[in-house]
Symmetry: C2
Subunit: 212 residues, 2 copies
Amino acid sequence: MNRIKEIPFFSHLDKNGLKKLNDISTIKKYNSKEILFFEGEEPKHLHVLLDGVVRLYKTNHKGNQIFLHQFLPVSLIAELANFENIPYPATAEFTCRGEVLRVDYKKLEEGFFKNPELSFQIIKSLAGKLKIMSEVVTNEIVLTSEAKIAKFLVENGELFSSLKNTKVASLLNLTPETLSRTLTKFKKQEFIRIDDGLEILKLDDLVEMYAN
Amino acid sequence: MNRIKEIPFFSHLDKNGLKKLNDISTIKKYNSKEILFFEGEEPKHLHVLLDGVVRLYKTNHKGNQIFLHQFLPVSLIAELANFENIPYPATAEFTCRGEVLRVDYKKLEEGFFKNPELSFQIIKSLAGKLKIMSEVVTNEIVLTSEAKIAKFLVENGELFSSLKNTKVASLLNLTPETLSRTLTKFKKQEFIRIDDGLEILKLDDLVEMYAN
DNA sequence: GTAAAAATTTGACATATGTCAATGATAATG
DNA sequence: CATTATCATTGACATATGTCAAATTTTTAC
């Protein structure tokens, strides 16, 4: 109950509302690599990530994972499936131990959807998701690998420096080989330098590669 | 004003609400091939498609159009850009003459967002868009061309029969050549027959290609 | 500090799909 | 009906990116 009060999503609820919400929800702990839900599964709960990190991915025809997004607390996860009453469109997996609030969706719908503040929060969340998906489309369909990498270097330089290349490659849905080759190319062109962290030497040239 | 009353989105508004909405919106007509908005443009209005057909697409690095979705009346178009206050993520173009209701978004936000019924409609719309985007991702990233085509034949057989192959190819973001080759392949395998309309001979084999 | 494991780089090759060009088939127009 | 114009098919080739394997480097663990 105290946990629920701290969720920005529900923080505006009054005592009665909190109690009702508490009655239809449970908190569940997960370990790293545990699956919150599989692509294709029927949703019964609304999941609110309280703690830990969840990665969302689809699986392609060859069985490779296509990374879509990484969720940090506190966020709703795949609420689309609840609202549209469709199977989960992707798989959600914990990358470290964490916790979710599982809310019985049917009961939530009955009791809470008249609440304007909650509606507003849901709108925010959905719009955010839509933005994410739109970016996925841009990154995966519109951009070449080179452009994807250039964009990532410019926009996530810090993160790049802190991660192994294999990890970066998987975030970008590329093979480590492609990433490696592209990075050496960028180094040869003197767009970047890498020693103990990324240094961008020719920002404009990098940006040019993905912006239009 | 009468037009507004007929929009399901706003049909629940009372007289006063309708009047206020009417004051902040205008109806604009468009011809075929006219652009409603360009990718990257700053949104000022919420667009409600009242009449006509609008196709939404992105442009890739080579200047090719990547088809995302076709809107039929009555629908909100790219409201994401309004809600998130970001540039339009894609271009919207009329494929035939039509009409939109342009609502001054700032003013709408100030005056209407407390309305629970409207919020609910917006949630519905956003969730629908999210579903569309999720399908785009599935189609474009997860499936091979062959699978895309198989899926389209199974799910849109009627439409397939009524369209030229060039048109189908562009809906699927494929070249006509690839479509043609794949179709001949399916015919050779006796999955389909085409004479004066599509006939699916081996549904299971086709479905097998894209379902997992 | 050494051994084992993991990550990176590089080369050779595979593959799906696009591009271009030529030809044949259909449809549209006067 | 004849003539364009559009569409479909086919082949040869290009290209980006993945796959596999080997060599090298870096990191981790004892």
